[in-house]
Symmetry: C2
Subunit: 327 residues, 2 copies
């Protein structure tokens, strides 16, 4: 039985906790969220929400922190450190933790050192980053003699996603608002750069590399109403994001992400070129929110067997929790 | 630097050795094959072939045996035991070793116990079984809340494969010869049952299960000439094989494998049905021989970090050898 504390009870954290509560090998021993409206509530997961890790009973006996409080490493590092200090492994959906060696090298080194010293593994997980645009592709690459270039495309209809997600992609904003807010770097998908670095590393691309990013709004051509937002024609429906890795005069990795409400033909697609040339497509695309919950839960029985330190999805022999015959 | 001995120098073993020789982190310290015609030859891999493990110098300092001598566990178990006795990890392309818990439970237990006692990992690897019809799909399943049924299809044009492979699928035989030899269980693909059991386990299918197998020859409609065989119209071009897992009145896994010279539209395809419904296709299909070599080589730096005992590809965080930031 693996005892977990769930920290962060937004839609994703709550989804993880609900799924954890249904797993026979996982016991939820604590729930933490800073939202005063949630304090003391049980939310169907069997334990009352407390406002901070310090407010948990001292004797939870937890093994793993499941962490879903934010996308930015600088803003969540203290929480991660607090879990490490308690001797807990961590599986986090913090997007910037998925592969932080390039964009946050100092923080990555410091967190890794703490985790190593504490004998625990710290893992950034989820479906994107963490799976569909990185780990899944790296797994495929292991069956190729050589990969020279990758083109990775994800198209998702944001109308099927949670409210905070629709907000993050600017759905319902005017084009002017979008421009203003996007300049602050808080719109679009967090984690694409982390996926790009993971792919480039797996391809053996040198560390001297540049990421060229383009983010532009996709404007609605017709009115679109979701459970969370109403988008008028001409308003922002979401984003188109492109990221290209440039190294040694080549462009080995090209990533394209369309996330807008009403996006047609949702899919995940990868073109692999090298010693083999083939295209892979996941028709209709992997479901994002269900995927994140499933990948995190799949990691729970595995995280304790990873070497202590800052680990990535590359280190995880990913499989559903139903798999037997594991060490 | 990981020191390896290559045992078995047929087309696959030779491909593995040639690739190992090009890897900067791998050193070949021995080569073994029982074919007298190969004895003493270097085959471009830097060491002379000896006829048995016992004929190797005592001081090879090997860490890992790369093993490609046969498809059947009962016929290779002694070789595997000899490697374990020397304190070597093993990565083997023996198809029946890929997931032997159901079809060879006693042998699996005995080999696992020896490996555990010897502090080494014994791993069945390759592209099929080992990747494209099992591990790859299990990896995808980790991003799904629940998988109720799988249909897995692999179509490959055997004309692109090595000679022994074309022989194994009966290419060039008459239908009568095929029937006679196929009754002995030595035609068709070895390993499909192992993949089916791995998938069923990953889906949480109970151990009470039956595998229904159908194997039939595909007859050539026109003359087909490959580098290795000439197939006249009406002769066997290869095989169509189906395997269905039946458990608790359901058929959770259905696998279909077409392997014949001249097969049109080669591909790998998976239909996943459960909490999500999606189809995945690898257009043109993963190259089999290159894939096996690549997957085996990808496992070399990982096998020593697995828990001692009989391991499977489910235990392996598969990625190309170029990946850094590993434990």
């Amino acid at each position: 039985m693996i005892r977990v504390v769930q920290m962060g009870l937004g839609p994703i954290g709550l989804g993880i906790a609900a799924r954890a509560a249904r797993e026979s090998a996982i016991e939820i021993v604590g729930a933490v969220d800073s939202d005063p409206a949630l304090e003391g509530k049980e939310l169907g997961i069997g334990v009352p929400v407390v406002p901070s890790l310090d407010a948990l009973p001292a004797d939870t006996g937890a093994d793993v922190l499941l962490h879903s409080t934010g996308s930015f490493l600088a803003e969540t590092a203290e929480q991660l450190e607090a879990a490490i200090a308690r001797g807990w492994h961590v599986v986090s959906t913090c997007e910037e933790l998925a592969y932080p060696f390039y964009r946050h090298p100092e923080l990555a080194a410091a967190l890794g050192e703490r985790a190593r010293a504490g004998g625990v593994a710290l893992l950034g997980s989820g479906v994107n980053p963490g799976f569909v645009m990185d780990k899944f592709i790296v797994t495929l690459m292991a069956a190729c003699e050589r990969v020279d270039s990758l083109r990775v495309v994800r198209v998702l209809d944001a109308a099927t996603r949670r409210g905070p997600f629709q907000k993050k992609i600017g759905a319902g904003m005017s084009a002017g608002e979008f421009e203003k807010i996007s300049a602050g770097g808080r719109l679009g998908h967090i984690g694409l750069a982390e996926s790009a670095h993971m792919l480039a590393d797996a391809m053996g691309v040198g560390r001297e590399r540049e990421l060229q990013r383009e983010l532009r709004p996709v404007l609605a051509e017709r009115e679109i109403v979701t459970d969370h937002v109403r988008v008028e024609p001409g308003q922002v429906a979401g984003v188109h994001e492109e990221l290209v890795v440039v190294a040694a005069g080549e462009k080995p990795v090209r990533m394209e992400l369309d996330m807008f409400v009403g996006a047609p033909d949702p899919r995940d697609a990868v073109s692999v070129r090298g010693s083999q040339a083939f295209d892979v497509e996941i028709g209709s695309g992997l479901a994002g929110d269900e995927g994140t919950v499933a990948v995190v839960i799949s990691c729970v029985p595995l995280v304790a067997s990873l070497a202590p330190g800052l680990r990535t999805m590359l280190d995880v022999p990913l499989a559903p929790t139903t798999v037997p015959h594991r060490r």
